[in-house]
Amino acid sequence: MPTETTTRPGRSNSGARQASAASSLSIAPAVEAHGLTKTFGANRAVDGIDLTVREGEIFGVLGPNGAGKTVTLNMLATLLPIDGGEARIFGHDVRSESHAVRQLIGVTGQYASVDEDLTGRENLWLFGRLQGLSSKKARSTGDDLLAKFDLTEAAHRPISQFSGGMRRRLDLAASLITRPALIFLDEPTTGLDPRTRGQMWDTIRDLVAEGSTILLTTQYLDEADALAGRIAMIDRGRKIAEGTPAELKAKIGKSSLRVQLVEGVDTAQATALAADLTRETPIPAATGSGFSVMLSDANQAADVLIALRNHHVDITHATVEQPSLDDVFLALTGHPSETPTPESKACDS
């Protein structure tokens, strides 16, 4: 094994002093949290969460509104005091070394954390100056970021005139002035239209390609799936599952086939065929005639459709669906994600 590229250069007998000095910290994960807890009154908003985020990955924290995602992120980002447990960012204790931690992170919140009354350019200059850049350097870095995020034209407009997508981009740009090693993104695409959402995804992937580590929260399974190398699912302040998107999907398994039948067709016959082939109980469609049935293997969809064709059961359309966030939550928690309890909803901000 070539010593230069091993994860633990300190164990090798490579003589490079610089490398071994760096190793003591570079082997520390970007985020390491144990038993993280936050209580608001009687409500345990975050209830003993363990997280490990490795350097260079995109880690997704997935959960419904009020699950405790934002509170978790804010504790890691030194914005909220930690009530219980401990957290380290690149080996620095969040509680006792918060100033060191703040030098390593960039935070982009759910709500625009830029100044509404300043222009985009002024905002970036201000944050550059605050982080020790010279006036000139702050200006040039700001202009580079505005260009990179396609905001040059809006540079001289106050933020209050920005669209939602522009705000989000400026917000992210403001977090990148000192190229932080770890970037926290709190629901980076909530409320964005699909096109802007896609752009944001590309930007996030670029950041990781350039060497950043990202911890993001999201309510969307597809977003976590598209971006994150690993995902922790959070519900009511607890971690209910963790793994790669594929592992999580395997855990709840199955995709389902949804079939809509032509009006007047024998629905009973169709469901019987599907039940026979999949060995699952088809669920009748809520509206019109049709059904959906769980598949243990996506190929079964073809079997069911061929059987329907052979028995002259005509369909209007058919879709094979991935398990949704709802399915995942239902499978893992026994309750749907869409009905957060009032207390948990209140504490997510």
Binding site: P9, A77, T78, H92, V107, Y111, D115, Q131, P158, A181
Partner: protein, 276 residues
């Protein structure tokens, strides 16, 4: 995903970054100035914020000048030297109330979260606007003087006396603002800050020698006005602006302001740090 880390990629890895344990004083000053710049831009862009230091002094000077002159001093010419220093003291105190209200509003905004997440001195978001506010106190003082001059006030202290008076007024506003800043860190809403500050501001301004001769007051009230630092500020302003005299009152005024600052700076900073 590969977990391999190339230790030679030192420039972008966090391990290579020099992490400082605290903010050096020089950096604190840079950060404070940057945030003062922000506050000044906001003043320019939202001129309504300056109403209390532009329109109010005009209103007070004209109103009190015409209303009370006859009753208190017999003539306007003899009342203005008593009144103008009083109005200056009052407008700078009124102007300093805004420090707390604005801090409360600022702390509720998203941008404050970013300030909190940055490796900057915790005091900078508090100290920056305080620095910018010096402009407000200077504005309030100048406008009162200009309106006073238009109404016939001719300060006998000359340019030096007036300049010294202005400096004292600005210092007073700045020191008293810490009281309201402290309230700003305690109250839950900007409206509450405003209300609580008024309860402090009015007695401070009016239970003093700012508008009426103290010897017309009942004994107990005279005692109150004598311990009120604003009385000493007003006396000092009169001495400086009307007579160009550096009297003991100037010393008492500065001591009073320093005492207020010495009590309320630590209170404000501690209460603020607890919230951020």
């Amino acid at each position: 995903m590969s977990a391999t880390i190339d230790p030679t990629r030192a420039t972008s890895g966090p391990s290579a970054r020099a992490v400082q344990a605290s903010v050096p004083l020089r950096a604190t000053l840079t950060q404070t100035s940057a945030l003062a710049w922000r506050a000044l831009i906001k003043m320019r862009r939202i001129p309504e914020q300056l109403v209390d230091v532009t329109a109010m002094p005009v209103l007070f000077t004209v109103m009190f000048g015409f209303m009370f002159a006859g009753a208190i001093s017999g003539s306007r010419a003899s009342y203005l030297p008593i009144l103008i220093p009083g109005i200056i003291a009052m407008t700078t105190i009124t102007a300093s109330v805004a420090a707390g209200v604005q801090l409360r509003e600022d702390m509720d905004k998203g941008v404050f979260d970013r300030f909190r997440s940055l490796p900057i001195a915790r005091i900078a978001p508090l100290a920056g606007p305080m620095m910018a506010d010096l402009v407000r106190y200077a504005l309030a003082t100048s406008i009162t003087l200009i309106v006073g001059a238009l109404m016939g006030y001719r300060p006998g202290g000359g340019i030096l006396g007036v300049a010294a008076g202005m400096v004292l007024a600005v210092i007073t506003g700045w020191c008293l603002a810490w009281i309201f800043l402290w309230i700003g860190t305690l109250a839950k809403t900007a409206g509450a800050v405003q209300g609580m500050s008024m309860m402090i501001m009015f007695p401070l301004a009016f239970l003093s020698n700012a508008f009426v001769p103290v010897n017309t007051l009942p004994e107990w009230l005279q005692t109150v006005t004598r311990v009120n630092p604003v009385s000493h500020v007003v006396s000092a302003l009169r001495d400086l602006m009307n007579n160009g005299a550096l009297t003991a009152q100037v010393g008492w005024a500065l001591l009073g302001c320093a005492t207020v600052a010495a009590i309320f700076i630590p209170l404000a900073v501690r209460s603020y740090s607890r919230r951020v």
